[in-house]
Amino acid sequence: MKELVELLTKSLVAHPDDVYVRKEESADSILLEITVHKDDLGQIIGKRGRVIKAIRTLVWACAPADKKVLVELAE
């Protein structure tokens, strides 16, 4: 899942080398936190959050059933 978020994010931004995804896993949840170049923040959020929502939708489609998966964008 971390790789999926990395791949999607890198393919959408102008600075793919500045993309970093941090994974934090606990007993019942997984947090995936995306860091991008500040000029790319808008790209990843999209109009009314459309892009980040689409990324979440894809991640949730392949997420394990027993864990809550959060995809967040680092400010």
């Binding site: 999607l8 959408l12 689409a54 939708t57 894809l58 489609a61 392949c62």
Partner: protein
């Protein structure tokens, strides 16, 4: 992406050798000069030049989209084949395999998210826009047929009762199918009302 690196006495010569090796023509490649050395020889006229170039085969939109989609599927843990079809201004990627339900999602929302992101990524690296349509196990095709049937039967009711009918909320693509199906109908006309994602098509009697 396929590429070769060639060293020759001039850039032109290096590129020519590379094109021969890759068996493509000049319009389909990107050329980068990696190193250029020129040494003045004895008495200034025995010049030794060395140029190193990298020549990379450019992919078209269909190939790029196909490659990206395959990579995404691998990362999602989905085992599937991707077929690529080209139509003017459009690329169609058909995904086939087993257990692809999770790739479609409720009302196709996962499939729509996938198509949206692939289109964004492709548009970012291409100047000429081309639409990428992704279908999974014939889902869109079946949905299109269902929508056409729904449009025709609703139009039939509108005609009979002389009263307008409001359809369920649909995505822009789905509404387009309804409009197109009924655009030449002499008895009814169609229009949309409301804001996405709750925008609905209305079928009403003409005049």
């Amino acid at each position: 992406m396929k590429s070769v690196e060639i060293v020759a006495k001039s850039k032109e010569e290096a590129v020519e050798l590379a094109l021969k090796e890759l068996q493509v023509d000049e319009n389909n490649v990107k050329v980068e000069v990696l190193e250029e050395t020129s040494k003045k020889g004895l008495l200034g006229f025995l010049n030794v030049n060395k140029v190193k170039v990298r020549v990379t085969v450019k992919e078209d939109i269909a190939q790029q989209a196909g490659r990206l989609l395959r990579e995404i599927l691998v990362n999602m843990g989905v085992l599937a084949q991707v077929e690529i079809f080209k139509r003017p201004g459009e690329v169609i990627l058909n995904v086939n395999g087993e257990n692809l339900g999770k790739l479609i999602g409720r009302h196709g929302q996962t499939l729509n998210a996938l198509q949206y992101l692939v289109n964004l990524a492709i548009r970012r690296v291409n100047e000429e826009p081309g639409r990428v349509i992704i279908d999974v196990a014939g889902y869109r095709k079946r949905r299109e047929e269902n929508l056409k049937r729904l449009a025709l039967s609703a139009a039939e009711r509108v005609k009979k009762r002389g009263r307008k009918e409001i359809l369920n909320p649909m995505s822009p693509t789905e509404r387009r199918i309804i409009h197109l199906t009924l655009q030449n109908n002499k008895e009814v006309m169609t229009y949309s009302e409301g804001e996405d994602p709750y925008r609905r098509v209305i079928i009403s009697p003409k005049n």
